[in-house]
Symmetry: C2
DNA sequence: TTCAATCTATATCAGATTAGTAGACATTAA
DNA sequence: TTAATGTCTACTAATCTGATATAGATTGAA
């Protein structure tokens, strides 16, 4: 069920671009981003080229150049990006909605594996097709502020580096981060 | 987010063994199973060897030999089998519960990608670690009977082959099969 | 003008993984 | 005895992954 490095780096890049933009730095250099996340520069360049080709980022060449987001963060969904870079989300093709291919089993309608994988693919899609870059960036910034962590991307002049790790794990509950942050006061029911 | 062919075939094999057992045929030959699902025989043999090594199936050699399930279906969880054959379920290692590895990003606690992938991994695990072979087999058999389809594995003497495809898509609602079948009459709420 | 920092384009590559195939051998029921 | 099975070991072709290498184009600033 793996996300490729290529996909991972692409998402990290977009998220970082988003955070930086919110902090007043609309443009980032590949080298800077690679340094921050410890990614191979040349590989990341290839990935940016692909993202540019597909309208997610735009570039500025020459000194003080770099990449910036090419469309509103609210319109960048993670599912779409992952499908672009890693292919279909479905564990097996016969349950893919965007790239269905019939499988070799004799009776697809009564296939137990298919039923199971259909649920898996839907569970994944429900998350990846729901969250936009805007939401993830917002949640991340909120967490950074909550824990009083020096933010990663400051205007070039004042940039301090590397990020200071937070002294404590601040708030418990590492699991289901997104849900816990979104549903601030949800009614519970047994 | 792919399931490998190896993993897919392993699960198909277990499900078929389960169905056959319920229908009174506790042992199946590799060749028969391969023929039914149209899988390469020799490859499937390797997979069975792995399943045997890990206590999922047992074998009987010689004429009339074959493979049978080595433990109760209620104790075979899909998550465990997939982890055995395909490795961790988590899309990236830093959100794996069974095979955690720290990633290269500077601040794991405030990593947006990690938050997102944590939710994805939990959504997948919730399904794969919940359902047992017993449940999938039961649901499959119920569907087969409901649609009056000739069942795949009959006692050797009366075996008819191949399976007849059902004339109609019988009942609508191809999506979320498992849920719809389990929660027969659940109260809904807006 | 010149230079250094940036993106661009193309080629190459080592290693791992995937999805098998091939063939000889061991065991067992009929 | 023989035919049908599982067992074991080796091999492999193709593809994918995760890069690296090299040369070039563009631009801002000194």
């Amino acid at each position: 069920m793996k996300l490729s490095k290529r996909g991972e780096y692409a998402l990290r890049a977009l998220i970082d671009l988003g955070i930086a933009k919110e902090l007043g730095r609309p443009i980032l250099q590949v080298s800077e981003l690679a340094a921050k996340e410890k990614l191979p520069v040349k590989f990341l360049e290839q990935i940016f080229a692909q993202l540019k080709l597909n309208g997610y980022v735009e570039s500025k060449r020459g000194k003080l150049g770099g990449y910036s987001l090419a469309k509103p963060m609210t319109r960048i969904k993670f599912g779409t990006v992952i499908r672009l870079i890693d292919g279909p989300i479905a564990p097996i093709q016969c349950v893919s909605k965007t790239a269905y291919v019939r499988c070799s089993c004799p009776d697809e309608v009564h296939c137990g594996l298919r039923m199971l994988m259909l649920d898996v693919r839907n569970a994944i899609a429900k998350i990846l097709d729901r969250y936009t870059l805007a939401e993830i960036v917002e949640i991340t910034l909120r967490k950074l502020r909550r824990d009083k962590v020096t933010s990663p991307f400051l205007p070039p002049s004042t940039r301090l580096w590397p990020v200071l790790l937070p002294a404590v794990n601040a708030r418990g509950g590492d699991w289901r981060e997104l849900e816990s942050l979104k549903q601030v006061s949800k009614k519970r029911r047994k």
